[in-house]
Symmetry: C2
Subunit: 247 residues, 2 copies
């Protein structure tokens, strides 16, 4: 039984950033697509969960890239379940270029919520999930706790709009990444590349929310960011590590 899912993509010019590279939010879209498809193929997808009146909730994701795909480049993404706990399951990803060389890894942490009570569901009850656990290595750090960026920083206002919403009517988890990257100026993107991006989703963003985006440098090329609601409570936190551009 093949436990690892394999998915192929080809970059399209309209998806690329001004440097002609696939931007991190689009990589995030690909990863979520693979997660959803792999789960569906194995019997614990969106519809299977709905039947149990549950839904998957992305809690954290960390992405490390050594190379970013450029124009019309085929990419292969492999994904697998690393472990299943009572409340959380870890799903890993490996990204490969057309020669099969690794260009990145990602780790994601998921919970399931009961759609009626909105409380966490016990994942050990979803038998099929455990069948697919595999110990394929994923040599990057797990996403962890991110310090608050909002203390002592001026926030930048942002109002949640139509194009920010996902198919569930919540702030699209990938759009958070887009808005966080927009906190960095163009020269940073010219000179540097993101080597690690890590995000932790705390609460749901909704239409019309007046948010505030914060950014703080913690060390050279290392930043923490947060998106806060009107009361100043973080709805998500992210940590970004830049490296010199190798292109």
């Amino acid at each position: 039984m093949e436990k690892i899912g394999t998915f192929d993509f080809v970059t399209e010019s309209y998806l690329l950033d001004f440097r002609g590279r696939l931007p991190l939010p689009m990589i995030g879209n690909y990863l979520l697509h693979c997660a959803g498809e792999h789960a569906r193929q194995k019997g614990f997808g969106f519809n299977d969960m709905s039947e149990r009146s549950c839904a998957w909730v992305l809690s954290r994701i960390a992405i490390e890239m050594t190379q970013y795909p450029t124009m019309s480049e085929p990419i292969t993404i492999r994904t697998w379940v690393e472990d299943v706990g009572r409340l959380f399951t870890n799903r890993c990803f490996a990204l490969l270029d057309k020669e099969g060389n690794n260009i990145g890894y990602a780790r994601s942490i998921w919970a399931a919520i009961d759609l009626e009570t909105r409380k966490p569901s016990d994942l050990t009850g979803i038998g099929k999930l455990e069948e697919y656990v595999t110990n394929q290595p994923c040599p990057i750090d797990k996403p962890g706790k991110i310090l608050p960026a909002e203390t002592g920083t001026e926030g930048e206002p942002y109002l949640v709009r139509y194009s920010d919403l996902d198919v569930n009517g919540h702030f699209n988890s990938i759009k958070y990444i887009e808005h966080i990257l927009n906190l960095f100026d163009i020269d940073t993107f010219r000179e540097k590349e993101i080597s690690r991006f890590e995000i932790s989703y705390v609460a749901e963003g909704r239409y019309g929310m007046q948010l505030s985006l914060h950014k703080k440098e913690t060390a050279p090329d290392r930043y923490i960011t947060s998106i806060c609601d009107t009361e100043g409570k973080a709805i998500c936190r992210a940590a970004i590590t830049w490296k010199q551009n190798s292109y």
Copy 2:
């Protein structure tokens, strides 16, 4: 010789809006992708133009949809060149659902600029282009002149950021559409659907530009919008017609 290009897409959940429908900006991405691919296949694509030190510039596009694709729906887009003038060429599109029923049409007007002088190139010199002209019908109005929405309206500020830029470093022509749609509130999207969207690109938007977005109702369910630069000059204008939601 097949003059009409045919391209197939399947919608992905992460591309859908909160109503579970493919949003207009993504339809725009598909159309531009088809235009680029069709031109490339026929010998007047991006690279062919670069060799003549020219580049295609989208001047106007009008999109009319009778039905919006939903989750995991196959869509076919057919595209062809309707005519070639000295300065402009008209490219049309038909959008079909999986049964082959028409769900929309689009018309686009393109110019080519000389990359050194930035002046318009003579399109009649690009011989290959004329070979592919076909009189396939496209039963929607051509995109035309759009009245200024900025006179007598308060603008909403918008600063051009990293995620707005396309692979040429200009404001992505599809991102304009996204920002224009964000001028409408969520109830409009709940109750109505866009039956026609038309946009005219006047000048290039660039990183760091402080723009101002204007919207004006001209008749019930009919709006004009504009995006203006710091001097108040419109860099693009759009007209939107809504209809009651038929879903």
